[in-house]
């Protein structure tokens, strides 16, 4: 009990806890769609593309959320545009964009005199250093993302499951696609400081992937993913505090452990579970 209460009296820990849980929840909700759309790679690319934006923001002394946000958003939209007129395979286009933008970030970073710890923090996460003003900004962005998903969850679900059927019945599927890529960009910006550019894709994908092992209904999948995202953020942050290790990496490793344990013991896939191979889809019964 003592061990649980001790760190929480520090303001920096309270802020870190809030920021981590926020990232965990927003990533889990948006990640549920990302996993079903097969967009994990796009999420990773958008995260890396945020780096040059963050560096430029640092160089001109502006807020990193704006710099990273603009870069991530532009990348997300351009990937969406390329994939809609695919003369290239989408993963090829993403590979090009992803490596190119990240290289630009590294180049700009190397141009700054001396070692810039703040910026290195964006690569691997440094949630303990989050400022009060930044945190307020992240909370507002998080509220926006969750509100948009709350309003459009049905439409996003239909467009994800059956884009042709949804478009034919009048849903603006192309518009929803761009909107969703925008949400992915915002989600990544929200999570940058908590887990860092390199690991944010894990926050996006792992809780939703774990939830997919446990349920066959979308609404429940989102709820389970959210609970996993929030609780692993808390557990990971405490562990990193107690053992004095990197917080972002610890949160991600806790999520990975939960996934592995679920895979091993889960009701559908696990060694101990009842053998019902068709439960989560897979092979058709016919």
């Amino acid at each position: 009990m003592e061990a649980l209460l001790e760190p929480i009296q520090f303001q920096f820990f309270q802020r870190a806890l809030l920021a981590s849980v926020l990232a965990g929840v927003v990533c889990a909700v948006v990640g549920s769609y990302v996993v079903l759309k097969g967009l994990a790679f796009i999420g990773d690319a958008v995260a890396h593309a945020a780096f040059p934006g963050v560096v430029v923001a640092f160089m001109v002394g502006g807020p990193y959320v704006i710099g990273g946000g603009i870069a991530a958003f532009l990348t997300a939209i351009s990937i969406g545009w390329v994939s809609r007129r695919a003369h290239l395979r989408v993963d090829t286009a993403i590979g090009v964009v992803f490596a190119g933008t990240f290289a630009l970030g590294i180049l700009l970073y190397s141009m700054i005199e001396g070692f810039v710890g703040d910026l290195f923090g964006f690569l691997v996460g440094n949630v303990l250093a989050i400022g009060a003003a930044d945190l307020v900004g992240l909370l507002i962005l998080g509220a926006i993302v969750l509100a948009v998903v709350a309003v459009l969850w049905k439409e996003l679900l239909y467009a994800t499951f059956d884009p042709l059927g949804a478009a034919a019945s009048g849903l603006p599927v192309a518009g929803l696609e761009y909107l969703f890529l925008g949400l992915v960009a915002l989600t990544i910006v929200i999570s940058l400081q908590a887990v860092g550019i390199i690991l944010v894709v894990a926050m996006l994908v792992t809780p939703a992937a774990t939830a997919q092992l446990l349920t066959v209904r979308f609404a429940r999948l989102v709820m389970v993913a959210t609970v996993i995202g929030a609780s692993t953020a808390v557990v990971g942050l405490y562990l990193s505090y107690w053992f004095d290790v990197a917080s972002g990496a610890t949160i991600v490793l806790v999520q990975t452990s939960v996934f592995v344990v679920t895979l091993a013991l889960g009701p559908n896939s696990g060694f101990l579970g009842r053998r019902r191979p068709a439960e989560t889809g897979g092979a058709p019964a016919s």
């Binding site: 079903l36 395979r89 309003v151 459009l152 049905k154 439409e155 679900l157 239909y158 499951f161 059956d162 042709l164 059927g165 949804a166 478009a167 034919a168 019945s169 009048g170 849903l171 997919q212 349920t215 066959v216 209904r217 979308f218 999948l221 068709a278 439960e279 989560t280 889809g281 897979g282 092979a283 058709p284 019964a285 016919s286």
Partner: protein
């Protein structure tokens, strides 16, 4: 008996046909990238018609349906669907894609999928209400899937999957059904059941346009048939598809004559739009 639309149509008749049609296409060419899948298609489908679109692989059946659904633009020609430009009356249209295009591992149950038919009418923010749940229940009852409402769709047989997607269309209460291969690869009982439902819908004044590979089904269960092979070869009462001349012109090289029996060589699993990494040779 065969009304060929290549024959000149009187101006006054043409206006009359257009006004009474739920789907009206005139000189339509459309396709993907730089390849036209259908060329110069004329077709008028009156309200309450049960129409089968038949033709060999690569004939452009799915393309034609997508143009009607407003999913693909016509490169040339004019299209009117439910009296407006395609896509404008989308909420009165239920489109069911080919079974192969659906991710069956998706975490949704039978009832979830059928409820999606109600989403466009609900609009954002509003949650499904009593009316929506009643329509979903009725649709599930109609297709005989009420006992499977909580089943994840990947656990269903091929026939059950088609039943569920037809239920989604029914729940939307559309004026026009556009169904891509609704009775392909399913057992005879399911085929009969689904055709009974479509027949009922057409008798209620709803228009049904379905592509099919099953010529026997087209001849026996549909009211009208349009035989296409990039162009409309023939268009008329369902019996036209039994005409050897129409068959020969529609299926060309896909026909095999064994004694006095004609066999159509065709594979049932087909996409007009080639799947990545898969090569289809359709064109002679």
């Amino acid at each position: 008996m065969i009304e060929s639309h290549t024959e000149p149509v009187h101006e006054h008749d043409a206006m009359h046909i257009r006004a009474h049609s739920d789907v009206w296409l005139s000189g339509v060419t459309a396709g993907y990238a730089d390849r036209a899948a259908i060329e110069n298609v004329d077709l008028a489908v009156e309200s309450g018609t049960l129409l089968a679109v038949v033709g060999p692989n690569g004939a452009g059946k799915s393309t034609l349906l997508k143009v009607m659904a407003g999913l693909l633009p016509a490169w040339r020609g004019r299209v009117e669907v439910l009296g407006a430009a395609p896509g404008r009356e989308a909420r009165r249209i239920a489109y069911v894609p080919q079974a192969e295009t659906v991710d069956w591992a998706f975490p949704v149950t039978v009832a979830d999928v059928v409820m999606m038919g109600r989403y466009p009418a609900l609009g954002p923010l509003r949650r499904p209400g009593r009316l929506d749940r009643r329509l979903v229940d009725e649709a599930l009852e109609q297709v005989g899937m009420a006992d499977h409402r909580r089943t994840q769709i990947g656990r269903l047989s091929g026939g059950q999957r088609r039943r569920v997607f037809l239920a989604r269309a029914l729940a939307a209460e559309p004026a026009l059904y556009l169904l891509d291969e609704p009775v392909t690869g399913i057992d005879a009982t399911t085929q009969e059941d689904l055709m009974d439902i479509l027949e009922t819908e057409s008798r209620r004044g709803r228009t049904v346009v379905a592509t099919t590979h099953d010529l026997a089904c087209a001849a026996q269960r549909f009211q009208r048939v349009a035989a296409i092979n990039r162009r409309v070869i023939a268009d008329g009462p369902a019996s036209i598809i039994l005409d050897p001349d129409v068959l020969a012109r529609t299926y060309g090289g896909h026909l095999l004559v064994l004694g006095d029996q004609t066999v159509v060589i065709d594979d049932a699993h087909h996409h007009d739009q080639p799947v990545e990494g898969e090569i289809h040779y359709h064109d002679q």
